[in-house]
């Protein structure tokens, strides 16, 4: 039994099942909070270990496959730990550990209600995320995709205020309507080619002989609507509203699970269902690239006017996700590699930013940028990490964001889409426009008289100058929040110099070789 558990053969299955098991254990540890937290941390560490071991193996042998039971004629419940899936799973599992530690600090400092429900839904969301990552066909993917939407709904509406519940309803409306279109697209695919399995050269090319191009393109649009999780405009509105959720949830939604599942699905549909040749023949790459370009620019323009820090980060995420979509749409090896690299890199950087926003809200009680003048003195580590993350968003070296954006830009040149190169550069410049003021005001801003008082989560009011010295070390619980964000910030720098950490670079290169055939 132990040998079965440790064997590489079934490891994708165990990797998917583990967070599910953790969620059940959490449910039964309702009355012992410390045990409940231990389950989460232990589960996340074990999951990351399992995924890393598969990364190491995937470099040598091929992907590990697990076929469980048939679902429909020609379609089975099929898991495969291939290169893109492993990149996604690595991102999710590594960040789960850090966000779990952070959540302990955040939830307990704010004395949040319904913590068991929170941790339970978190674990189920991770279960479905790893399932999405390792799905080997559209139907298995769809199963985990829907569970992901449903399990994150109680997290979005966690506060249970009218605003939170309505944000939750908006969330469901967008994502489940998308799910219905996704189902229709999967059915059409099955109807045309009697299979839904992923293949690096796509599976729909044989159908192009009999099916008119407009039908294939329409179904592609249905697939895109199904990937509303990727927050491409105009299906993005659920994301800024979802910022009403607690910060660990926003960090999870924006860096790890939901949004990355959306872009990952777009990646799968473009390369593994439609395939390079069909995409080029039908000019679908151009359509997708135009949607992505529009989103990049529009999201950045929206972000400039925001006062609420988390909403600004939400628009920044919409912008960065479309960078990944652009990288996918350009249909060139460099761009695809950049897109795959941007999944973990953006994950680390964005999570740094969100964890900082949450720390500022929990420790100092501030949610609006206009009220954060001078906060850098009270929370130097936090704002320092924020600065690192912000530089990464703009694509500045020596941050990881530079490396992935460089690849995408090179890909744009490689395929002759110089317009898109312009979009990339403009987008990065606009990033600076809204991030820079936050950093400047935080470190160098003069605190106006009206905000001299600082109120922390325990509602102890004190003048800012007096409290300014290093609030972060005031309580051990604060360290639970600050250490993870320092770690993610450090990784954001490390990944630029060592993109091979966790085998990420090797996996991206191998995925691109599978698709483009060594070009």
């Amino acid at each position: 039994m132990v040998a079965l558990f440790l064997s590489m053969e079934y490891r994708p299955l165990w990797a998917v099942a583990l967070p599910g098991l953790v969620s059940i254990l959490i449910l039964f540890s309702k009355n012992r909070p410390n045990l409940r937290e231990i389950w989460t941390i232990a589960g996340s560490v074990c999951l990351f270990g399992m995924v890393l071991s598969m990364n190491a193996a995937a470099a040598g042998t091929g992907p590990v496959e697990v076929v469980l039971f048939p679902l429909f004629p020609g379609v089975a419940f099929h898991l495969r730990a291939d290169a893109p899936g492993l990149i996604f799973a690595t991102t999710a599992s590594c960040l789960w550990i850090l966000v779990s530690v952070y959540s302990i600090g955040y939830m307990r400092v704010l004395k949040e209600h319904a913590q068991t429900r929170f941790y339970f839904c978190f674990a189920v969301a991770l279960f479905s995320t790893v399932g999405v990552a390792f799905s080997a066909n559209l139907v298995t993917l769809f199963i985990f995709y829907e569970i992901l939407t449903l399990s994150t709904y109680p997290l979005v509406a966690h506060e249970e205020s009218p605003e939170a519940v309505s944000a939750g309803h908006k969330y469901l409306a967008y994502l489940l309507t998308g799910g219905v279109f996704f189902l229709l697209a999967i059915l059409m695919t099955y109807h045309w080619v009697s299979s839904t399995g992923f293949h690096p050269q796509g599976i729909l090319l044989p159908a192009a002989k009999n099916i008119p191009g407009w039908a294939l393109s329409l179904v592609f649009i249905f697939f895109l609507v199904g990937c509303a999780k990727a927050a491409w405009m105009p299906l993005h509105a659920w994301l800024p509203s979802a910022m009403v959720a607690p910060t660990p949830v926003s960090a999870l939604l924006h860096a790890v699970a939901v949004v990355k599942a959306g872009v990952f699905c777009i990646f799968r549909v473009v390369y593994y269902v439609y395939g390079l040749n069909l995409m080029a023949v039908l000019h679908l790459g151009m359509i997708l690239a135009l949607i992505a370009a529009f989103t990049i620019l529009a999201a950045n323009l929206y972000a400039i006017g925001q006062d609420n820090l988390k909403r600004m980060l939400a628009y920044s995420t919409i912008n960065q996700l479309s960078f990944i979509i652009l990288g996918i749409a350009l249909l060139s090896p460099m761009a695809a590699k950049g897109a795959l690299l941007h999944i973990p890199f953006h994950g680390f950087m964005k999570i740094t930013l969100f964890l900082c926003a949450g720390a500022v809200a929990a420790i100092a009680g501030k949610k609006e940028i206009s009220k954060m003048k001078g906060i850098g003195r009270a929370l130097p580590v936090t704002l320092g990490a924020f600065m690192i993350g912000a530089f990464g968003m703009c694509g500045a070296p020596p941050l990881a964001g530079f490396l992935s954006k460089w690849h995408i830009a090179l890909g744009a040149i490689q395929c002759g889409g110089l317009v898109f190169l312009g979009v990339i550069l403009t987008g990065s410049l606009l990033d600076v426009v809204y991030f820079f003021p936050v950093i400047r005001e935080a470190f160098f801003g003069k605190i106006p008289e009206s905000q001299m008082l600082l109120q922390d989560a325990e509602e102890r009011v004190a003048p800012l100058e007096e409290k300014a010295k290093w609030m972060e070390s005031k309580r051990p619980l604060y360290l639970f929040m600050v250490i993870p964000l320092a770690v993610t910030a450090a990784f954001s720098i490390l990944l630029c110099f060592f993109p091979g950490i966790f085998f990420i670079h090797d996996l991206a290169a191998s995925a691109v070789t599978d698709i483009f055939g060594g070009r």
Binding site: F69, E112, A114, V139, I143, L150, P154, V165, L172
Partner: protein, 501 residues
């Protein structure tokens, strides 16, 4: 060849029938024994039904001649894969409902246990007879048996149930009379009442107007009993106001048995080409199905009572099934028959949840679901599984039958049906998430976070164990049918699809 005539075919109808007559006597002697007597009979009938299913699959169609009289003079039971499956389905649901009734009946129907169980067993007999019989008139007899017992059972409910039952009685009798008229037309033109016999005779009578009229009357009669839009008006009140245990038993299954009768008449007695081309009925069925789906879904949205909401969901689900029957290609029929099975199990679990909630909170409005995730966690889990199944989230069974129905619609190019199904999925999301919100969020009025210790002021007050066990079995069944759907479709559903398609 030695004909397949297992005794279980007769036993499965006789055992509940005889026990139904014995129960009032037993109940008169000792009230609580009526529960045990009924459960024994139900379990025995379930085992017979299971034996029948295995026998049909191993040795072929069962032709059981009652009293030894050969058809077409005698009454024959003719059991193939389709009705063996339906028989097991009805037996399972009745047995589970019987177990769940242990605590519910003394609470809701005090002093009436014996009459209740007698009527319950008679209803079971009627439904099984309808399913297993191979004779048109015999079907009518059992139809009336089940109808009359259900009228009586429904009228035992809350104030207003008598009127609901009366309306059901009036409409149901009209429907049954139309069915009888249809049988009459067929008898006059062919001289036979046996289904297998008719199937051969009717092939030569395609052009006859009398046969067409007979078919039309049959169809409309069944439509009334099946609550197909727009003949569904009796259903919401009847199922909502009935006693909880009665809703749990009959709501999932009675309309499905009528759907089975539709399949029988449309594809076995008459053959598919007739239905599609000569009578042009199948197109009509699909459109009625589409309207039922949309109307049922939208009406359900305006309900504040949980059971009424579920009743409208049933109207929509019948629309799925009838639409699938109307599309009449193998995939869609697989979907329709699989959906009959799945819908019965899903609705049973949801009505059972309604029963558990009303048992503890005294009512079955949506507001009564406040805080059930905290107060009644097992019930809440059963509700979650059932709701996700109706919405069609994999890996629950509801997703898989919807897949086949949608695929059948796509293959036939019936895009309106596909669109209606997908829209209804979203409507179902809205319906059930209203209830989820009530159950999950306790602080909807409190803007501040409440500290954790205060929440445990909600002590757990679960439903009785008998109901919980049945709920657990149904929820596990929903997931098992979903995960094992490929096996189930291949071994049970595929053979049940009527030939000639």
């Amino acid at each position: 060849m030695h004909p397949n005539q297992p005794i279980s075919a007769a036993l499965v109808i006789l055992l509940p029938l005889l026990t139904a007559f014995a129960v009032p006597i037993i109940g008169f002697w000792r009230k609580d024994l009526s529960f045990y007597a009924s459960c024994t009979a139900l379990a025995a009938a379930f085992l017979c039904a299971l034996h029948l299913l295995i026998s049909v699959h191993q040795r072929g169609t069962v032709d059981y001649f009652l009293g030894g009289w050969d058809p077409p003079w005698g009454i024959a039971l003719r059991i193939d894969s389709l009705n063996a499956l339906m028989g097991v389905l009805v037996a399972v649901l009745f047995t589970l409902a019987g177990f769940a009734s242990k605590k519910s009946v003394p609470l809701e129907l005090p002093l009436k246990e014996a009459p209740f169980y007698a009527l319950f067993l008679l209803l079971f007999t009627g439904l099984l007879g309808m399913i297993l019989t191979g004779d048109m008139f015999n079907l009518y007899v059992f139809l009336e048996v089940s109808a009359l017992t259900s009228y009586a059972l429904i009228a035992m409910g809350e104030p207003g149930s008598e009127v609901a039952s009366l309306r059901y009685l009036l409409m149901g009798t009209v429907g049954a009379s139309w069915y009888l008229l249809g049988v009459g037309y067929l008898y006059i033109t062919t001289g036979s009442l046996n289904m297998a016999d008719l199937s051969g005779l009717l092939r030569e009578m395609e052009g006859s107007r009398a046969v067409l009229s007979g078919f039309a009357f049959l169809l409309f009669g069944i439509a009334v009993k099946m609550a197909l839009f727009p003949m569904h008006l009796w259903l919401p009140d009847a199922y909502a106001k009935a006693p909880a245990i009665v809703s749990t038993t009959i709501a999932p299954i009675m309309t499905k048995v009528m759907a089975y009768v539709l399949i029988r008449i449309g594809f076995t007695v008459f053959h598919p080409e007739y239905v599609v081309q000569a009578a042009k009925a199948s197109g009509l069925l699909v459109w009625f199905g589409i309207f039922a789906i949309l109307f049922g879904g939208i009406s359900a949205l305006s309900q504040t009572d949980f059971k009424r909401m579920l009743a409208f969901v049933i109207v929509a689900e019948i629309g799925y099934i009838v639409g699938g029957i109307g599309i009449a290609n193998p995939t869609a029929l697989k979907g329709a028959i699989f959906h009959i099975v799945n819908d019965a199990v899903m609705m049973a679990s949801l009505f059972l949840v309604g029963m558990m909630v009303s048992h503890r909170t005294g009512g079955h409005g949506i507001n009564h679901f406040f805080g059930i995730f905290r107060k009644m966690p097992v019930t809440a889990v059963v509700f979650t599984v059932g709701a996700l199944a109706v919405i069609g989230v994999p890996p629950t069974c509801g997703f898989f039958s919807k897949w086949y129905l949608l695929l059948g619609g796509i293959e036939a190019g019936h895009w309106a049906f596909v669109a209606a199904l997908l829209v209804c999925t979203l409507i179902n999301v809205a319906l059930f998430f209203r209830v989820f919100d009530k159950g999950l969020y306790l602080h909807a009025k409190a803007p501040q976070s409440i500290p954790e210790p205060l929440i445990d002021a909600f002590t757990i007050q679960e439903a009785p164990l008998s109901m919980l066990v049945v709920g657990g079995v149904l929820a596990a069944g929903i997931l098992a049918i979903g995960i094992g759907n490929s096996f189930i479709v291949k071994t049970l559903i595929q053979p049940a699809v009527p030939g000639g398609l």
